[in-house]
């Protein structure tokens, strides 16, 4: 069964001009919008990171004042998490899920448009705080009270921005779940579902469960500041630690929202380039589901130093360690997939392999910090900064980069420049390690995070880090160039793009680029 390119009256094209993008209900258009937004935000958030690294290049105060520095750490995180990584995965989901399950589009196309079009407005609300009295929020992306309540005019804007981002994510997540539950082609049974789709179903469930809790928590911040409530005020019987519990009930599943689709992407790419089916498919599904469930019962490992009862510390230590088991299952499955495979190393595969190696390192440092007595040493140092950048940069961002190189020829119809892709990969991988690896050492030696100045003994590690960060940042311009070049033309891509890819998913049976509407008639699934 092929795509119905000439299928008669049904194949209406897009609207003309800018209105095509504003009013579109097409999953491919919306996917593109999400991806472009993510790319722009990746550079915006990256520029903020470079402000941080420039200031930290040497001890002493150089370029920015401490308040602005703190605004940068806060906004860098919020922009990267909510503006870059989540929209990138939402974009991948929009583009790929209907094509992978044989559906004509997302289940709720109008709501799909709204999910995206709330996003730029939410980002603008947040960015507008930079120009306000008191500047942007500067209490860290976690927005902990009482500090966050003591800033300038930014609080209500930050809170409403979170509300909008939440509405956007919840609608996107509902759409994905309904699409996968209701729109699979006949014969596409649950245990035939591509891993990327599986991981997104579980991610979507996490999103629907956690975004409302975050919305509730920031609403309490708002009422505490403006309406005299006492949720986080001990004098009135509340407790600032309550906010931390609510936040991390959201926050811990949230980091799996960022990483589970990455697992999905890597589980798509490695089999293609190892020319073997994914090893242990069903165990991958169960491992993903286990990680999803466990993510809800480990949140307080972010709060070991806050003064929890000892039973709490014990419980959260053991529960957190459990997560290493399903994660280990995944890593070994990827290794076993590559074992004796006929491997080639195109750019997507390079990023996928780097993901497996470097994400595992981030996982191991996570395991170290799951142990509450040890975490007392690591807490709020550069060690945690190194840890979560290994999971989120060499983890989530690498998976997104891998996915972009993997599916870009499918989207545009043109092959990207493999030489530039490889250059991008090596520059990125080397520089990211130069940037973040030394932070393990400065952290273990006691350098605290989120401060603009530091003691001189940390100078070398920080200088290294900053050099790595700048190389990493500018290396991403190659990505932008490669993407634009591939959109504008080049060698025509074949339908399956990668040798033998037709065995690895429905999307490779469609033309490159696919017509505006695909699978208007459901394909036959073997």
């Amino acid at each position: 069964m092929t795509a119905t390119t000439h299928d008669d009256h049904h194949d209406h094209g897009p609207a003309k001009g800018i209105m095509r993008w504003i009013t579109t209900t097409n999953h491919k258009d919306i996917g593109t919008l999400y991806m472009i937004t993510a790319l722009i935000m990746f550079f915006v958030g990256g520029a903020m990171a470079l402000v941080i690294r420039a200031e930290l290049f040497e001890p002493g105060m150089q370029y920015v004042d401490p308040l602005f520095f703190n605004q940068m750490t806060t906004l860098h995180a919020l922009v990267m998490v909510f503006g870059a990584v989540m929209p990138a995965f939402a974009g991948l989901a929009n583009w790929m899920i209907p094509m992978m399950i044989g559906a004509p589009d997302m289940a709720l196309p109008r709501m799909n448009n709204w999910s995206f079009w709330i996003l730029p407005f939410a980002v603008c609300l947040l960015a507008s705080t930079l120009f306000m009295e008191g500047g942007a929020p500067s209490a860290g992306w976690t927005l902990y009270p009482p500090l966050v309540l003591q800033g300038g005019n930014n609080l209500p804007f930050a809170v409403f921005s979170v509300h909008l981002l939440g509405i956007s994510s919840i609608m996107a997540a509902i759409n994905i779940i309904v699409t996968v539950f209701n729109m699979r082609a006949p014969g596409m049974t649950w245990m035939k579902l591509p891993m990327f789709v599986w991981t997104w179903v579980i991610t979507a469930f996490l999103l629907i469960a956690i975004m409302p809790v975050f919305a509730g928590a920031v609403t309490m911040l708002l009422t505490d500041k403006f309406f005299g409530t006492s949720f986080f005020n001990a004098a009135g019987g509340g407790d600032p630690v309550l906010y931390q519990h609510l936040f991390w009930f959201f926050g811990h599943p949230e980091v799996y929202v960022l990483i589970l689709p990455s697992f999905g992407v890597v589980s798509q790419i490695i089999p293609t380039f190892a020319r073997k089916p994914l090893f242990g498919y069903s165990s991958m599904v169960y491992a993903t589901a286990s990680i999803g469930l466990l993510s809800f019962i480990v949140w307080a490992h972010h709060q070991y130093t806050v003064g929890m009862p000892i039973q709490g510390e014990l419980y959260f230590t053991y529960a957190t360690m459990l997560i290493a088991v399903p994660t280990g299952v995944k890593v070994f499955n990827w290794l076993a997939t590559m074992w004796k495979g006929a491997m080639t190393f195109e750019t997507p595969m390079l990023f996928a392999i780097a993901f497996v190696v470097l994400f595992t390192m981030g996982g191991f440092t996570g395991l170290m910090m799951s142990i509450s007595p040890a975490d007392l040493q690591y807490h709020d140092t550069y060690f945690i900064v190194a840890h979560f950048h290994y999971t989120l940069v060499t983890g989530a961002v690498f998976a997104i980069l891998a996915a972009v190189y993997y599916w870009l020829p499918k989207w545009t119809g043109y092959m990207y420049d493999e030489r530039l892709g490889k250059l991008h990969f090596w520059l990125t991988t080397i520089s990211v390690n130069v940037c973040f690896f030394p932070q393990h050492f400065s952290g273990l030696a006691g350098m605290p995070r989120r401060i603009p100045d530091y003691a001189v003994q940390f100078a070398e590690f920080n200088a290294m880090s900053s050099v790595g960060a700048f190389v990493f940042g500018f290396a991403q311009l190659i990505l932008a160039y490669v993407v634009i070049q591939s959109i504008r033309g080049g060698d025509k891509a074949t339908d399956e793009v990668w040798e033998g890819a037709k065995e690895h998913g429905l999307e490779w049976q469609l033309p490159s680029p696919p017509p505006y509407h695909t699978w208007t008639t459901a394909p036959d699934i073997k």
Partner: protein
Amino acid sequence: MASTTKDSYYVPDQARWPIVGSIGLTTLLAGFANFLNGSSVGATFMVIGAIIMVTMFFGWFGTVVSESVSGTYNHQVDVSFRMGMIWFIFSEVMFFGAFFGALYYARQLSVPWLGGEGSNLGIETHQYLWDAFSNVWPTNGPAKVGGLEDGSFHPMAAWGVPAINTMILLSSGGTVTWAHWGLLANNRGQLIKGLIATVVLGFSFVVLQAYEYHEAYTEMGLQLGTGIYGSTFFMLTGFHGLHVTIGAIFLTVVLFRSLRGHFSAEHHFAFEAAAWYWHFVDVVWLGLFIFVYWL
């Protein structure tokens, strides 16, 4: 539209309402934020944003209703709507979960700790701040935040208006089900009578709650700012009341559509969505009645 047949999934061409919704929502929220920061233009923007939002809802739902009535949606589309509504309600449940969580945390952890429970090694840290405070509920905290002039307040008793409101909501759950039976049996009279009863009961609940709030604010020293009890009481019951109002408006729309002859025994997604939403509001109320008013 003519392009769609019953056997293919309906994918609309273009949607103009979402961008209107984004502009409306952003205007409303940016206006509210400016209002909270003391700007004089804030309220104006809130009103403009709210008007845009109401227009958007009329336009968007109007489009969907007319498409539905003209038979554009096949069974699969109907299933998508149902699943979407169920997951939306689930997200609402989690939103209330955050506030219930705050209530349990205050009652089980933060207030007992402020009263000296759980101190390690015999070090009574709470004594350095508020040594006279002991663990009681309801409370407005060791500093007696808010309340009457002497810092005291009266908690809301369960067996007055709240008990009546419980009866009202529970019976409205019955009337909406009775209306559903009428719809399924093609008994339009029963459908419309059941809906009218439900809507009347729903708005009566809101009126009684407004009366209760008035009492609390003017007589009992119980306000949003009355410590953790006032905070959890008003945020939980307030968001619930807001949802009752939304649900009652939803049911009113369904009532007017029923009067115009919409819905059939086989095809009535909007009716069921409203009914599900109503039952959700009902269940949340039971949780509120037990944990906020009664225990």
